[in-house]
């Protein structure tokens, strides 16, 4: 009966046409008048100081406007806190061009600005800089036993809970035990779009800053604090982001550089990083983990120990939640978790898709597979026997948890029961076949967010929020929410984002945008709805005169009585009759903490994979993946499925390809380009099946959505590793699994 019910429908992206036709503009594509170009010079050394910068020759080149370095940067903010962005960890943030000290290889040391990009690039290549080096430390392996426990400097970091039960004794007494180390190297986000900023210099010295970021407001606050700008001085705009994966959660140094140069030169300036420079900032940290598991005779977990040590920079203590998941994913009364950092001469790590969980669950879920074999149990059965109905870290029930259904439906779809548990027992032709599975869990969180709606007399609804779109489908889903709540056709809704003039929203991360901004949009639409009802009641002969807001609904462009749909007013007519050109409302949505604090709020998934391995040659293909995801209400099965498909590819990439290799001779990443830092190509990807097990959950937020940007990748790397063991009998505990590890 109603055709304006959009939530839950598999709709195509509303921003799709703009993206495929090139109409969607990215930060480095705004060709504002009078634009000049900056090129960043990166340090070839890892530690030491700059002893001399000789810019004379470069400045003499016609068309070169300035060389910025620590020697000529004007007085800027003095305090560390001015350089802290919304997601900065504890410590002292890196200040670009601040002093002569070199803290990491590829540190930006100068910005050359010229009339053309080519000239700036050339000038940067001939700029003479001399360095004095001192010995660097870049090898985490040398820091074993030297870790320290970080403070709680970073938003979202939860230190591991204290030990519960008697983990040491119960481990010693366990019938079956495993005790192993798990490792993955450094990984870089490598979104397609390189970081870039176009700082447009306006009359009166104000700036329009087009930035690649996952949070326009975060970028704005950062430059306001550093350069002493008012909110009106610097508007930050970020309508499209060509992939983020966490790399855009913190402002990167090109933003600082572009704004600095624009303010100093009083010109519009663009600074884009090169692909090589994309390896000069945050990354998923190299992490060493140990997991010890003990089980009782019945296959129940007797003890669980999980310890992680990862790198951070000398100047900040980056933290992520690596081990906490191990205290809540399975029922176990004797748990000991440990988490430590070690300082190296590298840049600070940074959240990368499912930070912490991607690392910790790789270790836990491979260890669970090892334990299943040690206990003589099917890996799925072993997990079901240890299923947690309660979050033991928090000692709270889950608001909803259909992981059991994910296990069963995923296993059925995959054909798990056809698995012969013995390693090396399954073959197809000359190939060894392996089945592996693993579990994922991620937070379902909601942050404070705002939205504004405006309905014009021609029936067009404009919705605004300063959130970002990183390719996840935010434009589409928010359009659906607004259209549904106000009963308008999708085409009548224009959702706008990525502008600091819009109502505040948090950085686009943590899988919280659908929940946070979605609720804000819903609230704003409801506020507008109440206004519209009041206006409708003032219309001559209004059939809604005595109606309360609960009595009406917005459907098919009409405001009508729920119980007597014939009694209706056309929504567009309400605005026209009011004599105004538009009717507006705004709202802020906050998580309902009173309701939420009694529960543990999480999304889960179960991943099943098939690998085929040519053992002699060490070649491996992930031939089938089934990913069953329980993440509350699915707003749009099409964009949601795309998210999970991308997640599976991401997990596969982590399992088989990605590693930024540090050459300790130079303290420098050697494969810092797309040719040698591998991510999968189409030929690496085979069948991927995505299942959603929907959950009804009005505790997480009023929309019942949990977010799926991250949970989908969890379990993938472990499931592949486990499948490799099943296929070959070879247990690999260090990612990525490349040919040499399979020989």
């Amino acid at each position: 009966m109603s055709n304006t019910n959009y939530i839950g429908k598999a709709l195509s992206r509303v921003d799709g046409p703009a993206k495929v036709t090139g109409a969607a503009k990215y930060a480095a594509e705004f060709n504002v008048p009078g634009l000049v170009y900056g090129y960043v010079v990166s340090s070839p050394v890892a530690k030491g100081k700059i002893t001399k910068i000789d810019a004379a020759e470069v400045l003499a080149l016609p068309g070169v406007l300035q060389v910025f370095s620590h020697e000529n940067v004007p007085m800027l903010a003095l305090l560390d806190r001015s350089y802290k962005d919304d997601v900065a960890p504890g410590g002292s943030p890196f200040r670009p061009l601040h002093d002569a000290e070199i803290k990491f290889s590829q540190q930006p040391v100068a910005l050359v600005v010229a009339d053309t990009f080519e000239l700036a690039r050339y000038a940067a290549s001939v700029l003479k800089i001399e360095y004095e080096t001192v010995a660097h430390e870049t090898d985490l392996e040398t820091k074993r036993g030297e870790g320290f426990e970080p403070g709680t400097g970073k938003t979202g970091f939860v230190p591991p809970p204290p030990p519960r039960g008697n983990p040491d004794k119960e481990f010693e007494n366990a019938v079956h035990r495993i005790d192993q180390e798990y490792v993955h190297g450094t990984q870089h986000h490598n979104p397609m779009e390189m970081f870039g900023t176009t700082a447009e210099y306006l009359d009166g010295g104000k700036l329009n800053v087009y930035d690649k970021t996952q949070g326009a407001l975060n970028s704005q606050r950062y430059i306001r604090q550093i350069f002493g700008l008012s909110k009106d001085d610097a508007r930050v705009i970020s309508k499209y982001t060509g992939g983020g994966f966490g790399s855009g959660l913190r402002p990167q140094y090109q933003l600082f550089m572009a704004v600095l140069a624009a303010l100093e030169l009083k010109k519009s300036v663009r600074v884009s990083l090169t692909r090589q420079q994309m390896f000069s900032f945050g990354h998923r940290p190299h992490t060493l983990q140990t997991v010890k598991l003990g089980t009782n005779a019945d296959g129940s977990l007797a003890a669980l120990h999980h310890h992680a040590l990862h790198e951070t920079s000398r100047f900040e203590d980056y933290t992520e939640n690596v081990v906490n998941w191990s205290g809540m994913l399975y029922q176990c009364d004797n748990v000991k978790l440990g988490y430590q950092l070690a300082k190296l001469d590298v840049y600070t790590p940074q959240d990368m898709r499912a930070p912490g969980a991607a690392t910790g669950l790789f270790a836990l879920e491979v260890a669970m597979d090892e334990m299943a074999y040690a206990a003589g149990l099917d890996p799925l059965e072993f997990r079901l026997r240890n299923y947690a109905d309660r979050d033991q870290n928090l000692d709270k029930p889950f608001s909803s948890k259909k992981l059991r259904e994910c296990y069963h439906e995923g296993a059925a779809k995959f054909g798990w029961e056809e698995r012969n548990p013995a390693p090396r027992s399954m073959r197809q032709g000359n190939m060894l076949v392996g089945y592996g599975m693993a579990t994922g869990v991620w937070d379902a969180s909601q942050q404070k967010a705002g939205a504004k709606v405006s309905l014009s007399a021609d029936g067009k609804l404009t919705v605004q929020s300063a959130t970002n779109e990183i390719g996840t489908g935010t434009y589409t889903i928010m359009t659906q929410v607004a259209a549904e709540y106000l009963g308008l056709p999708l085409e009548a809704v224009d959702f706008q984002l990525g502008d600091t003039d819009f109502p505040a929203a948090p950085v686009q991360g943590g899988s919280w945008t659908a929940a946070s901004v979605g609720t804000a949009v819903k609230n704003a639409c409801e506020a507008l709805g109440e206004k519209l009802l009041k206006l409708a009641q003032q219309m001559e002969g209004s059939p809604l005169k005595d109606a309360k807001f609960e009595d009406v609904e917005f459907v098919n462009g009409q405001l009508r009585l729920r119980l007597d749909p014939g009694q209706a007013v056309v929504v567009r007519d309400i605005v026209q009759a009011s004599g105004e050109t538009k009717v507006e409302a705004d709202a802020t949505a906050m998580p309902n903490l009173i309701k939420q604090k009694q529960y543990s709020l999480h999304a889960h998934n179960a991943v099943f994979v098939e690998v085929q391995i040519d053992e002699e040659l060490g070649t491996l293909h992930v031939t089938r993946v089934v990913n069953a995801v329980a993440a509350g209400r699915i707003m749009n099965p099409k964009t949601a499925r795309s998210q999970v498909l991308g997640s599976v590819v991401w997990g596969l990439s982590m399992a088989l390809m990605e590693e930024t290799v540090m050459d300790h001779q130079f303290g420098r990443y050697v494969n810092h380009n797309y040719a040698e830092y591998h991510i999968p190509v189409c030929a690496d990807i085979h069948d991927i099946d995505v299942l959603f097990v929907e959950e009804e959950d009005d505790i997480v937020n009023p929309l019942g959505v949990k977010g799926i940007g991250e949970v989908g990748m969890l379990g993938v790397a472990a499931a592949i590793t486990n499948a490799v063991y099943h296929a070959t009998g070879k247990r690999i505990r260090e990612l990525p699994i490349m040919i040499d590890k399979l020989l």
Partner: protein, 339 residues
């Protein structure tokens, strides 16, 4: 700007003349490698001579009954050429195992011979590299050398030649036709590229005034028993860790003639005629292949991260020879998804 002159050569003689002029002169054809190297400041030519208008794009019969591949025929046109596919399918397969369709559409046969190594350090100006800057040292020997050479390496350089096409050309005993100031000469394929020794800055034996005009394939028939096996870190668009071009002529199960060349192992496409001699007259069995594989890696040297390549090379040789024998040139259903 990095200033360079750009001119177009309309005839081979003019190209040769211009190339012998002073300065750092480079020919540019497809530019698929040269442009990257220029952007990275690894190559800084002062004169670029565009040779795309030279009349060298044909693929035609050679006087001895073989096939002549024009230096400016693209890799794509060569791989999909009907004569190449019919008579030299090993070459088609090797070309299609490399790069991406877009790159193969631009890349030329002559240019393929001049690809420079993908050694990480060669590309990174912040690190020493004897090939890029003679005398500065080799960072790879004591560094991260997983993708680098195990055969014919020197104390100066362990770089590998990255081409797939050249591995097949080496196995097929192709010859390279070059023209210089003193006229034309023909170079055996194994003599075209060189080992690094203490002058790794030189990738090949071409003289400064010379240009490659064509590659000749001899009139030998390896069209039934061949295999190009490429092992790499992803299924497409990655350079070989190890590649093997194997080609056999069989009488029953007896090998009349056998050819073997490897990529990803040395400064040049690695054809081993001593090992090939162990195939001749022998039965096409695992035992024979094992002896041959052992022979190829006899002098191999690992440098730590790349030591696995010695064992992998042996296995790949055996597999490629087996596949060639069986007339089943592809290792598994997922390999070579590129075409």
């Amino acid at each position: 700007m990095n200033s360079f002159t750009y001119t177009r050569a309309e005839a081979v003689e003019a190209a040769v003349r211009e190339k012998s002029a002073s300065g750092k002169v480079k020919f540019i054809a497809g530019g698929t490698n040269l442009l990257d190297l220029m952007k990275e400041n690894v190559e800084r030519p002062t004169r670029l001579i565009d040779i795309n208008r030279l009349p060298l794009t044909k693929i035609e019969a050679a006087p001895d009954g073989g096939l002549r591949l024009g230096a400016l025929a693209t890799n794509a046109d060569t791989a999909w050429n009907a004569e190449v596919e019919k008579r030299y399918p090993l070459l088609s397969q090797a070309i299609l195992a490399g790069a991406s369709p877009q790159l193969r559409n631009m890349a030329t046969n002559g240019g393929n011979l001049f690809q420079r190594t993908r050694c990480y350090y060669f590309y990174d100006l912040a690190t020493p590299c004897n090939k890029r800057e003679p005398g500065s040292g080799c960072s790879a020997i004591g560094g991260y050398n997983r993708i680098l050479g195990i055969l014919g390496t020197s104390e100066s350089c362990i770089a590998t030649h990255p081409s797939d096409m050249c591995v097949a050309l080496a196995a097929l005993a192709a010859t390279v036709r070059v023209t210089g100031k003193n006229g034309e000469r023909v170079v055996k394929f194994e003599d075209f590229h060189r080992l690094p020794g203490d002058t790794p800055q030189f990738d090949n034996t071409l003289q400064p005034d010379e240009i490659v005009t064509a590659i000749d394939l001899p009139a030998e028939d390896f069209s039934r028993h061949f295999s190009y096996l490429k092992l790499r870190d992803r299924t497409s668009y990655a350079f070989a860790l190890i590649s093997v071009a194997a080609a056999l002529q069989l009488e029953g199960n007896t090998i009349k003639e056998g050819r073997l060349a490897l990529g990803g192992v040395a400064h040049k496409p690695w054809r081993d005629t001593t090992a090939e001699a162990l195939l001749k007259g022998q039965p096409a069995t695992e035992e024979t292949f094992r002896r041959v594989a052992a022979k190829v890696v006899e002098g191999a040297k690992g440098y730590g991260h790349n030591t696995f390549k010695i064992e992998l090379a042996k296995r790949a040789i055996m597999r490629a020879l087996k596949q060639a024998t069986e007339g089943m040139p592809v290792a598994d259903a997922f390999q070579n998804s590129n075409p």
